[in-house]
Structures are given as structure tokens and as C-alpha cells.
Point group: C2
DNA sequence: TTGTATGCGTTATCAG
DNA sequence: CTGATAACGCATACAA
């Protein structure tokens, strides 16, 4: 190593280093970076050259400390492996990134306790806003969120009493309408298989059950649930279980998501059950696979990317001082009936 | 604004606030948080109470600035929507989280230019280490990474000249072996469909092609590629295209990933082509779907979660001062032949 | 347009 | 075991 003018031990260059090299004061360098319009073109140019030659990268911690602006948005999702959150995240990242914000992402593993800890960690980074999933945070967690005094969006479902802003759709209503569709198709022995059983899945199931009850078609022995995480393999297992306990008297099954539904479909095929002739299947989330598999799978489509986009936009609006028209947005859903369920009887 | 004793306007509590309430000095509070063993139980207790009643959350920016330890690991992946990276990320998050590190994640959209910008942003957060994808960073980006003087892991593929540490597998070799397997099954008219065509896909294709050439079975007209991102829909389209241009003389297709392969499989079914009788298919990445779809799909299995885990562990080791035995780890792959390709001829 | 002084909340260093 | 003081690197408020 060659001895250099100052940074003896090749430490990261600072504003001061750049300033010295450019022959200006530190604040001028800062301005070139943050308010270029407030600096003469001449200096601006000289400073940029110095920045380049030094490979200067601003220290965001110092900036954050001095300005109380971290440029970070904290995001908490319950699972990194659940593909559902990918699309939402993509929306958030696209909008946040375009707005100059970084995203600090944590995975709460569907546990409110973990969520509380992760959100505490997140808050220690002084995020300028937070996006969290659902509404079952611990009391302590909600207090933290509130006293952080930053915009918060709770996403994925419509909440009775949002902490601040809220975007999502009614899982209860979605479940309810799926049941209506299946009944309209003439199915009588209608079952349900669910996994993970987080709040949103529970609501889907509750809505589904309620609709069945209106027609006296709810049979508790046709409902199977497990706290295990969803997978295609599990979908097959649950279907087999349901078929055996129901004594074969089963003509339609609503699966709480497309993982289970695809598993059930593939398992049906292996058991030489014809879908939808022997058994109708309906999933939830509408994966791309569902539209292309044979027979194609009926499912509930949700504009997830759009939800992420809007969640981030609501945040950016508040951060920019533009008030949102609505603090709560119902993004809706759409039931897509395909080949795995027969046409509604006229 | 009123002159304040301390926080007139419910600002976040600071170390000083906690210290005052507990009747100790700020540094003692700091120690309770970071080196509890160096503080008497009595004080420790009093301080913790004060922390609780104030709902104190440390300011990581200040900590980072003062200690030069950000507790952040930066991660750059090329796509948030590609499921492949989910598993890797899960591994990284699990290990990093357990080690007390946060993960700052960026999506480079498969663009070295974007990657350079995003990594610059990442570096401004003073991460203590970086995990990036592959080796085709821009020169400038590699310089930044090097001069950051932090541990760096390049993952997903084995590199000739890693910047620092490296974990992955040889995509060339994987493609090569897939071709060998197909040829061993007796296929003669072997095609390839590829999308996105990033470095790793190109290597798979190159290996595949080279193996075919050894047996004089490479036919350029049976290779189709597109820069478009992969999807199931695209797999179907590419297969249709290939079938029409090849005049039906095609008996096996290697798809650069399982998205395309599933699309090709579903499309074959709609065209009433029997797989593998009329056409054999092999994918890459081994999604869960591939093992369960009918017919099940041959694919190349890669220990992605494990790769994420090990990448993070290599980082943590360096950070803890424990040297890694290897700076480069070949995590391997495994070709899983299933029903979509016929058995190798004896 | 540019610069000076000051403080952001924490930790390292050194005293006691 | 505990505390005083001085950084850490940058941006705000004010001057020039």
C-alpha cells in the first residue's frame, strides 16, 4: 500500500475527502448530491469529478442521523416461500424503488411474536413508513407501530379497525362467493381442505361455510384443516384423507389455495378420478399454472402486484404530503371458473 | 415550540432519555443493551425498566455511525418474481436472522447497469457483507465491491475468477449431462427452448449443445431462444414454434427451466401429443409441481435453500473471524429423470 | 451561490 | 463496574 495524503488505512472516502479534493466545503458536496440545482455548474462539475476519482459513496447512516430521513420503507410479510407475496413485493419494490426508497424486508414466519421482534428490529432502522401483512399484530407491536408516528399500511385483507391505512380484499366474501358458485353448479356434497390456517384462510373458510349453511349444505365431516404449511404434496394427502372419511360421497372441494388445489388435482388424476366429472376442484390465488394445467383449475384471482403497487403508492403519497383519497382500499378479487368445475346449471 | 426538558413533541426516546429516567449515564444504557455482562444486575434491571416504560427503540443509524457495524447484509438478486430465488433467500434470511443480521434486498432486473446502481445504493447503507448473483457485474460495480473491503459471496454459479467467495454449481456441466441422459435414452432429434437467456441459461445451453455435438446430434434449427422472461405461457408458445419449424421431427426437448417445461407439457397435452411417447421433455430447477404433475417432469434439482444457507454461513464465518475452509463451494445438482422422458435404453 | 457552526444518537476510549 | 468526553459523517440553520 502506498501512503496517501490522508486516508492512511484505505477507509471509505467521506464528504470531507471529496470536498478537500474538489477544493470546496463539505456542504457544497452534500448539495451537489441532494440539491444540484443550488450549486453552480462549475462547482457541480468539479465536485462530481472528485466523487468519481475517490469512488465516494455517501454514508446513509450519517445522512439518516443528520436529516431524520432514512429513505427506508419497512415491509413485513409472513413467508418468503409463499409465492403469493412475490407479486405483492414486486409491486412494492417497483414503486418504492422508483420513488428513491429502499425496502427493508422481514419474514415473520406467520408468528405474531416473531413479527413483533422483527418489527422492532425494523423500527430501529428508522424507516419512514411501514407495510405489514394483515391485522393480527400483538398489542405491543401495534403500540410500537403507532408510536413510531410514521405511515403504516396493513395489506392483504380488509380490516375492521386499521392502524392507519389498509389495502386488501375480503377473504370472507371470497369464500362466500366460491360456495355460491359451486352450489350454482349443482354440487351437493361440498368439502373444504385448508392448510396453515392463518387469519386469511380462516376467513375464507368461514365465508365458505356460511354460504353453504344458507342452503343447508354444510357438512362438518367434509371440512379438513391442518396447521401445516401448504404444499402440492399436502394437497394430495388432504384430498385422500377427505375421500376416505367421506366415504366417497364428495362431489366438489374448495382448496384454500392453489398449492393444495393442484396437489388435489394431480392426486385425483393418479387415482383415476375424472375432474370435474367425478370431483370438482376450486383453488385460491390463481397461479399461472392453474390457467394452463389440464384440466384448467378454477380459482380466485387477486390483483397482487397491483395491491403492492398501491400500498407503496399510498405510502409515497403521504410521504410527499399528498393526502390519499381513501385510507382503506378494497382491491377486490375475481372468481375464475375453469374446467375443474362444471358449468353452472341453467 | 416550547423549550423542552427533553421530548416535548413525542419524539422517539433516546439513550439519554432512558439514562435520565434510570438515573444512570447514557453509556451504561448502551452497555445494558450490548454487553449486559459488564453491568451490575441492579443497574441492568433499572435500565431495562426504563427502556420498557419509554418504549425505547435504539437508533441503528447512530449505532452504525458510531460503531461502524451496521448489522446489515446486502443481497442482490436479478428477479423477485423468479421462484428460484425464493428458496435461496429463505436460506439467507434464516441464517442471517439467526446471526443477528438484517438483510437489505435489491432486485436488479437481470440488468448489470441496474445492478451497479442498486449495489451502490446498498453500499451506502454500509453493509457488513454482500451476497450477489453470478459474475457479470460491470467493471465499476466490481471495483465498488472490492473497495468496500467487506466479504462478498457470488452465488448461483461457479465462477472462474470470483471477486471473493463463491457458491453455486456448473450450469454448463448440468446442461451437458442432461444431453447425455437424453441421448442415453435413445433420443435423436433433440431440441432446446430457452428464455431470458441470462448468463446461467446460456451456460446450460452451451453445455447441452457441446454434448450433443460429441454425438453429432446438434441441429441448430432445433434450438429456440428468446430474451423474454420465462413463463408457462411462453413455454407453450416456444414449443409450438419449434414443432412447426422442425416439421414434426422432434423427439425430445430440454427446456431451460421448469416454467417453460410445464408450459410445454401442458401445451403438448392440449395438442394431444403423448409425453414421453411422442415427445420427451426435461426442465430445470425441479419445482414441486414437476414432481407431481402427470406425467411427472424430468428436471435438474438444485439445493437452493442449502445454497442460501451456506452463502450466509460463509459470510457469518468471516464476520466472526472464523476462516472458511473453502472460498469456493460447488453445491452440485442432480438430474431427476421422471415420466416425461423414457427410461434409458439398456 | 457558497461557507460556518452545530447537533443528530450512539459507541470507543480512557479515567476513576 | 461506571462515567465523561470525543468522535462517527452528514445536513440543517443561518451568515456571508
Amino acid at each position: 500500500m502506498v501512503g496517501r495524503t490522508r486516508n492512511t488505512k484505505s477507509k471509505r472516502a467521506t464528504l470531507a475527502d471529496v470536498a478537500k479534493l474538489a477544493g470546496v466545503s463539505a456542504i457544497t458536496v452534500s448539495r451537489v448530491l441532494n440539491h444540484p440545482d443550488k450549486v453552480s455548474d462549475d462547482l457541480c462539475h468539479r465536485v462530481r469529478e472528485a466523487i468519481d476519482t475517490l469512488g465516494y459513496i455517501p454514508n446513509q447512516s450519517a445522512s439518516s442521523l443528520a436529516s431524520a430521513r432514512s429513505q427506508v420503507i419497512g415491509v413485513a410479510i409472513p413467508s418468503l416461500s409463499n409465492v403469493v407475496f412475490n407479486d405483492v413485493l414486486r409491486g412494492i419494490y417497483d414503486v418504492a424503488g422508483a420513488g428513491g426508497y429502499k425496502v427493508l424486508l422481514v419474514d415473520t414466519h406467520y408468528s405474531p411474536i416473531e413479527e413483533e421482534n422483527m418489527i422492532r428490529t425494523l423500527l430501529s432502522q428508522s424507516p419512514e413508513a411501514m407495510i405489514v401483512t394483515g391485522g393480527d399484530q400483538t398489542r405491543a407491536c401495534q403500540r410500537m407501530l403507532s408510536s413510531a408516528a410514521i405511515p403504516v399500511v396493513q395489506m392483504m385483507e380488509i380490516l375492521e379497525e386499521p392502524l392507519d391505512m389498509n389495502i386488501g380484499f375480503s377473504h370472507f366474501q371470497a369464500g362466500f362467493e366460491v360456495a355460491q358458485k359451486l352450489m350454482a353448479c349443482g354440487y351437493q356434497r361440498i368439502g373444504f381442505i385448508g392448510a396453515r390456517m392463518d387469519t386469511r384462510v380462516q376467513q375464507r373458510m368461514a365465508g365458505f361455510k356460511e354460504a353453504l349453511q344458507t342452503q343447508d349444505l354444510y357438512h362438518s365431516e367434509l371440512f379438513t384443516t391442518t396447521p401445516s404449511p401448504s404444499s402440492i404434496a399436502l394437497g394430495g394427502e388432504l384430498l385422500r384423507g377427505l375421500l376416505s372419511t367421506s366415504g366417497g360421497k364428495l362431489d366438489a372441494v374448495f382448496c384454500c389455495n392453489d398449492d393444495l388445489a393442484l396437489g388435489a388435482l394431480f392426486e385425483s388424476q393418479r387415482m383415476h378420478l375424472s375432474v370435474p366429472k367425478d370431483l370438482a376442484l376450486c383453488g385460491f390465488n390463481d397461479f399461472e399454472t392453474s390457467a394452463f394445467v389440464n384440466p384448467s383449475l378454477s380459482s380466485v384471482h387477486v390483483p397482487r402486484y397491483e395491491m403492492g403497487v398501491q400500498a407503496a403508492q399510498m405510502i409515497l403519497n403521504v410521504l410527499k404530503g399528498v393526502p390519499n383519497k381513501e385510507k382503506q382500499v378494497d382491491i377486490g378479487f375475481e372468481i375464475r371458473m375453469r374446467q375443474s368445475t362444471r358449468m353452472a346449471s341453467a
